[in-house]
């Protein structure tokens, strides 16, 4: 019934455009707040250099902001173009935070960003500072609502299936907003954005100091970036742990896959620092483990066991069988004209929580209810995400997180001791660390979203059912179009960034 190729192509397109969009978003959010901080210092101290700093970093912010806005448009419309069934199935819940993001956050950010650039001579100092803060607040609120939507994909609370409309419908908006996953994701993600902004400012300032240029501006910028960055990097790690904890509550399979934890371990489970997951034998080779660490981090207790992949697959088999019952009841309900049969209704209500698991069988048998035991086992193993990339992405991300803490701590120490200009080794290191936050952010996205597979909505809707009924030719066309177009834009963007960074905060630029 479904052309799998369309699903794979659509996933590829969504993944590539999302990763691309996310190259610009963290810097926008991080720099916006840094700009607001710098301009606040200007308004408080009245020293011209701080205004110059705000304008210079603002210039680079502007180039980046344009790319973020441009690539964000694709994200919103792609749900409709490529994930039409997803949009129908969950639009009732998922669409709301996206629309509120537009109303509450993006309007604010986009309306005032023009004044940030063009209002310097038209506004009083304080009014302009307010504008800058509103841009920063807008971009943070934007992140909040997008993550509320994303968190619902990870942990679909506050909703229920309606057999008459064949979709999920909202039952509690409060639950959707105050989804614990949304809270932990938001703080973790925006902290990572602040880190990105701080590394960007620090690395480029280090470049100026190495060249002996604009040292007044660069030294001050490093001081701001180091203190702001240190606080943010610490919170990324602490709040990332919170994110891990919420994952252990509702996405046990994702956690087990990240850890390549095949068997349920006696509490408290150990954390595998290194190992090669073997997907054939379901074991890891060359394992190096820290005892207790995972159990403590993920459950915050010493006696709660963490289920392993094999046990979770067995649980999935049961849920798939329940899902088959729910699916059958659903179709009886759909066919009944007038009042539904109370018995079928009761049966559906009892098992509707597992309906999504039943839908996992669609790729093996479109009728679902006639699945064989073998197909059920296959579908149950489909609930295991792609372990190897998750295992490594997660470890690399965490490694970068800790590296950046050390980097910022060193920068902070050196700048309070006023030795930053002389420490050329550190300046080189700081400059070379420029790509790190982007790598970590992209890896984080992979852990969260690739780790959610095979689900578009965890436990509710398998990803390959969410696609539009379009042809693979159409998706090939748009996919290649996006790759070519985005590559050109990336080349131009980097070219301009480098040009203006080399030019520095000259009269022409600011």
């Amino acid at each position: 019934m479904l052309d799998l190729d369309v699903a794979q192509l659509s996933r590829l397109q969504f993944g590539l455009t999302a990763l691309y969009h996310f190259l610009f978003v963290p810097l926008t959010i991080g720099l916006a707040l840094l700009l607001a901080i710098m301009e606040s210092v200007y308004v408080m101290t009245n020293r011209e250099i701080w205004r110059q700093m705000t304008k210079f970093w603002g210039l680079l912010f502007g180039i980046n902001f344009a790319m973020g806005v441009a690539t964000g448009i694709t994200m919103e419309f792609q749900f409709g173009t490529n994930w039409a069934y997803y949009s129908h199935y969950v639009g009732d819940i998922f669409g709301a935070p996206l629309a509120i993001e537009g109303l509450m956050a993006f309007f604010l950010e986009a309306t005032f960003v023009g004044l940030f650039f063009f209002g310097w001579d038209r506004l009083s100092k304080r009014a302009h500072l307010c504008v800058t803060w509103l841009v920063a607040i807008g971009s943070n609120l934007s992140a909040f609502w997008i993550l509320v939507a994303n968190a619902w994909m990870q942990n679909p609370v506050g909703s229920q299936f309606n057999y008459q409309t064949m979709r999920m419908e909202m039952t509690s908006f409060y639950d959707v907003i105050f989804n614990p996953v949304a809270q932990s994701k938001f703080v973790h993600t925006v902290s990572a954005c602040y880190v990105t902004g701080a590394v960007f400012v620090m690395a480029i300032s280090a470049y100026y100091l190495l060249r002996g240029r604009y040292s007044d501006l660069a030294k001050r910028s490093i001081t701001v970036a180091a203190s702001f960055g240190l606080a943010s990097a610490l919170s990324v790690v602490v709040l990332g742990d919170e994110s891990g904890y919420t994952t252990s509550q509702n996405q046990k399979m994702k956690l087990a896959a990240i850890e390549a934890m095949w068997e349920t371990e006696p509490a408290p489970a150990g954390f595998t620092i290194f190992g090669i997951p073997n997907l054939e034998t379901h074991e890891n080779t060359y394992e190096v483990k820290v005892p207790w660490a995972l159990g403590l981090l993920a459950t915050r207790t010493l006696d709660t066991p963490l289920p392993g992949i094999k046990d979770l697959v067995i649980q999935a088999q049961t849920r798939i069988k329940n899902g088959m019952v729910a699916y059958e009841a659903l179709y009886k309900l759909r066919q009944s004209n007038g009042e539904p049969d109370p018995q079928t209704m009761a049966l559906f209500n009892q098992y509707q929580g597992d309906l999504g698991y039943g839908l996992l069988l669609k790729r093996y048998t479109p009728t679902v209810t006639n699945a064989t035991e073998e197909q059920i086992i296959k579908a149950a193993w489909d609930t295991v995400p792609n372990i190897t990339p998750l295992f490594w992405s997660f470890r690399l991300m965490v490694g970068i997180g800790f590296t950046l803490i050390v980097l910022f701590a060193t920068a902070f120490y050196l700048s309070t001791k006023r030795r930053i200009e002389q420490s050329r080794w550190f300046l080189k290191l700081a400059f070379l660390s420029l790509p790190l936050p982007w790598i970590a952010a992209e890896l984080g996205w992979i852990v969260a979203e690739h780790g959610r597979q095979p689900w578009a909505i965890e436990g509710i809707l398998p990803t390959d059912l969410g696609v539009s009924s379009v042809s693979s030719g159409q998706v090939w066309f748009s996919l290649i179009g996006f790759v070519v177009f985005y590559t050109l834009l990336a080349v131009i963007d980097v070219f301009l960034m480098v040009k203006y960074i080399k030019l520095g905060p000259t009269e022409e630029a600011v």
């Binding site: 441009a70 949009s87 537009g102 419908e169």
Partner: protein
């Protein structure tokens, strides 16, 4: 529960109105940005003139564009079936619009960053396409909706589009596309006349007058085309309840020549919309010629309001009629989100829309006044 304060049927009508409001907001606010971009090659003769034109919209276009993004978000949240069926059906056209909408932000930002004339000319054309393509596709999409779109749902409410990309271009839909392009061009021309002096203003003025006249011609042509019955309308034959769960498969619909005029017979007050369209466009031409660009901008905004309302009111209660399976058509009564979602989205609109209007007006007030070639020479912040 609190959302029961308003019944489902009323909420659906309100959200139909809000959908219209957002589209009209988009046409009025982003319309003039796109119009200025379309006029860029025709009203400016050299780089410094082009910079003047670009800087007229530079401080405000980003906020204006959110009307487009919010329009998409609101359709997703309030009319998910419409969002799913229309956007996946118009796949190729949506891709073109996306590329064009991406060219705009980068074009605005990147153009001024290099003095090389080739570079600037490249981005001038990118900006032109960024204005022209969405303007044209916006009308073509409306044209297709009025004709009916070849799509249907299966039992699980998965939508299937059975038309082709080139099938979107029919004589009627091209009339609609040219109409929307002329309307946005007219709107952009009034703004450009308002914000500039000298030769740019006088060229923009004449372009605006021509666009207004052409818009009236295309509006009339579209009306005649429908009146002739070459493009049929749709009518609901049987519908159980207006406040039921959204299931588009539980009604019956028929295709009928002239059905798009039925509403004007039942509710004569609806004539206000086409009348507003005509009078708005003709007054715009008159005010432009009389050198009152401020008034022309306002009447041009009313013209956008009138023409889009005409389309919406003619279609009511249809939002997306299906030409191949009329019973699959999406209407106000069976394509919306749930009662609760519509209610809480309404609450957020009531809270935030007035705030948006207030701070947007403030930004326009701060940025008021003409943009001249002197300004762009003396102010390094300008693009």
């Amino acid at each position: 529960m609190i959302h029961q304060l308003l019944d489902y049927e009323t909420l659906r009508i309100i959200w139909w109105g809000l959908l219209g409001t957002l589209l009209i907001g988009f046409a009025i606010m982003d319309g003039f940005d796109m119009g200025v971009a379309i006029l860029l090659p025709f009203t400016t003769r050299n780089d410094s003139e082009r910079r003047v034109a670009i800087n007229c919209i530079a401080p405000v276009w980003e906020g204006n564009q959110v009307w487009f993004i919010l329009g998409g978000g609101a359709i997703f949240a309030a009319w998910p079936l419409v969002y799913a069926a229309a956007f996946s059906g118009f796949y190729g056209a949506m891709f073109l619009v996306l590329v064009a909408m991406i060219l705009r932000p980068v074009g605005m930002k990147f153009r001024s960053k290099m003095p090389n004339p080739l570079w600037r000319s490249f981005w001038d054309w990118a900006l032109f396409l960024g204005g022209f393509v969405p303007s044209l596709v916006f009308g073509i999409a409306f044209g297709n909706i009025i004709q009916g779109v070849p799509f249907h749902f299966d039992e699980s409410l998965r939508s299937f589009y059975t038309g082709s990309f080139f099938g979107l271009f029919t004589p009627f839909s091209l009339i609609c596309g040219l109409l929307s392009t002329c309307l946005f061009t007219m709107h952009g021309a009034t703004y450009l006349t308002l914000k500039t002096i000298g030769p740019i203003a006088s060229r923009a003025k004449m372009a605006g007058v021509r666009a207004a006249l052409l818009a009236m011609i295309f509006f009339t042509a579209g009306w005649l085309w429908l009146k002739s019955g070459w493009v049929p309308g749709y009518r609901i034959l049987e519908l159980s309840e207006m406040g039921n769960s959204s299931n588009p498969l539980s009604k019956s619909v028929t295709q009928e020549a002239g059905a798009w005029f039925n509403n004007y017979t039942t509710y004569p007050w609806m004539w206000f919309a086409p009348i507003l369209g005509y009078s708005g466009a003709s007054l715009t031409a008159i005010f432009l010629l009389k050198r009152c660009p401020g008034k022309a901008f306002i009447t041009s905004a009313f013209a956008q309001f009138g023409v889009i309302s005409t389309a919406g009111l003619s279609l009511f209660p249809f939002i997306l009629p299906s030409s191949t399976h009329p019973n699959s058509s999406l209407t106000v009564w069976d394509a919306s989100s749930s009662h609760m979602t519509l209610f809480l989205m309404l609450v957020s609109v009531i809270i935030f829309l007035p705030l948006i209007l207030i701070y947007t007006s403030w930004v326009f007030r701060v940025m008021r006044g003409k943009v001249t070639e002197n300004d762009i020479r003396s102010n390094t912040q300008m693009y």
